[in-house]
């Protein structure tokens, strides 16, 4: 019997398709021939595997069919435990949310960093100060900013020169200007109306009030004629016409206006508020009344109020002069008390004044 025939017989035998006679013969063959028996067992096992495969496929098909009849979506909706919206949002999108949050934090930090917010701590400080002052001063809390009129304020850190104005307080070379003009200077030069430049020395500095006293030390300096103006010790009144002469540009400039308030920036009682057009470079110039009395030193202006400036009252200048240590004064400093301008008109006043007003050049290399 060939292998093929044997297998065919086994198939028939297993399927029960053979006659009784054949079966008996085949069974005795199995007993006689172990190899035949082995074949039968082996084949039966393999056919079993095939049948199992078929059954499994069939079962899966049937299950899929049943599954197709179930409305899974409706069931899902019914059976899903719905956590609160936020929890669900977090569960479904937590990675996206995390990334978004990181980017947002990063962006905020970057913005703060690049705008200098993190570096500039004084911003907070100023803010707090502003608040306290606000409580004290009521309406003046509006964050007014003062620009000091010392030429190019921003350039100060830059080793270069900037300038202000100064004026003589005696004929022998003492000049007054603002503290903030010469503060930190390495060398100071003053330039007169006729263009001559003299080296000067800072002999006295007072930050508060904002006053500096210079002395011209240049050997080429010749003493001036007696001063045409004097210094008013009493306070001036609101509404008085005032004027100033200074060097906001390379030429001397006259600024006229009136005294608008008896106190300065944020209620500073050492200053007047004046309504006089002033510009950077006017700092340190004299403020005179109609009669040619020096009533103050131009000091600062308010950037957010047009035409508003401040001038230190002359009485504080006097005090500062008194404070000069005696050994700083090489020459006697005697203040002039004679006023020759009182009867002159403005043009003549300025002409008389011009020799006593200096451009102050500051080098801080």
């Amino acid at each position: 019997m060939s292998e093929k025939e044997l297998l065919d017989q086994i198939d028939r035998y297993l399927n029960g398709e053979i006659t009784k006679e054949e079966r008996a013969r085949f069974e005795s063959l199995r007993i006689e021939d172990a190899s035949v028996n082995e074949k039968v067992v082996e084949h039966k096992h393999f056919v079993g595997l095939i049948k199992q495969y078929g059954e499994r496929l069939e079962l899966e098909r049937r299950l899929d069919e049943i599954h197709g009849e179930i409305d899974v979506h409706t069931l899902e909706d019914e059976l899903m435990i719905h956590p609160s919206g936020i929890v669900r949002l977090w569960r479904n999108h937590h990675s996206k949310i995390s990334v978004a949050a990181s980017i947002a934090i990063f962006a905020v930090l970057c913005t703060l960093f690049f705008t200098g917010y993190l570096a500039d701590r004084s911003r907070n400080y100023e803010y707090v100060v502003g608040k306290i002052k606000g409580l004290e001063n009521g309406q003046r809390t509006l964050s007014n900013k003062v620009n000091q009129l010392d030429g190019n304020k921003g350039v100060r850190t830059n080793p270069g020169n900037f300038k202000g104005t100064g004026f003589a307080i005696s004929s022998n070379g003492y000049i007054v200007t603002d503290y903030h003009v010469v503060n930190g200077a390495d060398s100071v030069y003053v330039q007169s109306y006729d263009g001559k430049s003299y080296k000067a020395k800072v002999i006295h500095l007072e930050a508060d009030p904002d006053v500096a006293i210079l002395q011209i030390t240049d050997p080429s300096f010749k003493a001036l004629a007696p001063l045409p103006y004097d210094f008013k010790k009493a306070e001036s009144d609101i509404g008085e016409n005032v004027f100033t002469v200074g060097y906001p540009i390379d030429a001397m400039v006259l600024g006229m206006g009136y005294l608008s308030a008896g106190s300065g920036y944020q209620g500073d009682s050492t200053s007047y508020q004046i309504s006089v057009p002033v510009n950077p470079g006017n700092s340190g110039g004299p403020l005179l009344d109609n009669k040619g009395n020096v009533i103050g030193i131009v000091d600062a202006k308010q950037t957010n109020m047009a035409g508003t400036a401040f001038a230190l009252k002359s009485s504080y200048l006097m005090k500062a002069i008194e404070n000069i240590p005696a050994d700083s004064l090489k020459n006697p400093l005697t203040l002039n008390n004679k006023n020759v301008l009182a009867t002159l008109n403005r043009v003549q006043q300025v002409k008389k004044l011009q020799n006593y007003i200096f451009m102050v050049r500051v080098y801080n290399q």
Binding site: L49, L59, R62, L79, M80
Partner: protein, 190 residues
């Protein structure tokens, strides 16, 4: 089984008998009865409807095979058994997908069913191997083998379908096909 009872939950013994008798309607009632329970388990534990279908059908097949081979002992309610098998299968699937967060929300009581799926794996393996071998076998062999051994059709019918001139030719063909199938089946690595 009457038609009206198609939507009622079959009793446990009904299910066992139904499986043994290849009852379509019992299988259907069984399937419909417990699917929501498994769906609930899975969709509330990081899965979706398709996952639930896969897991549930796998569990039904396990039950089916166990009942068929006669080594099924009902030691608890059938519902608990199915839930436990699905739970175990799903935990396994979750950890394979690295989605297992360490806790699982349970909706039913369950038993520990450790060895269940091991045995089934053996069957799964053979099932897959057989499927693969039949695929490689190609036509007309595949159909001849399936017709004869799975669909239990006679050689005469097959002979007619394929237009063999006599049954002997068909037998020769079947023999060759079977030899090749065996070769393909046993050649495969596990």
């Amino acid at each position: 089984m009457s038609k009206e009872s198609v939507n009622t939950i079959p009793t446990d013994s009904e299910v066992i008998l139904g499986i043994l008798n290849n009852s379509e309607s019992v299988l259907k009632r069984l399937y419909i009865a417990y699917f929501p329970m498994v769906l609930q388990l899975i969709i509330n534990n990081n899965g979706d409807g398709d996952d639930a279908k896969d897991i549930y059908q796998e569990a039904i097949i396990i039950l089916y095979n166990k009942v068929k081979t006669g080594d099924f002992e009902l030691s608890s309610k059938l519902k608990t058994y199915i839930y436990s098998v699905c739970r175990r299968l799903w935990l396994k699937r979750l950890s394979q997908m690295n989605r297992y967060g360490g806790d699982i929300k349970d909706f039913e009581e369950y038993l520990s069913v450790d060895d269940e799926s091991e045995k089934n794996n053996e069957r799964d393996l053979q099932f897959n191997k057989m499927g693969e071998a039949l695929k490689l076998l190609g036509e007309p062999c595949k159909t001849i083998i399936e017709d004869f051994y799975i669909n239990n059709r006679s050689m005469k019918e097959i002979c007619e379908d394929f237009g063999y001139t006599n049954a002997d030719n068909a037998k020769t063909q079947k023999y060759k096909c079977l030899q090749r199938l065996k070769k393909l089946f046993f050649q495969q690595k596990d």
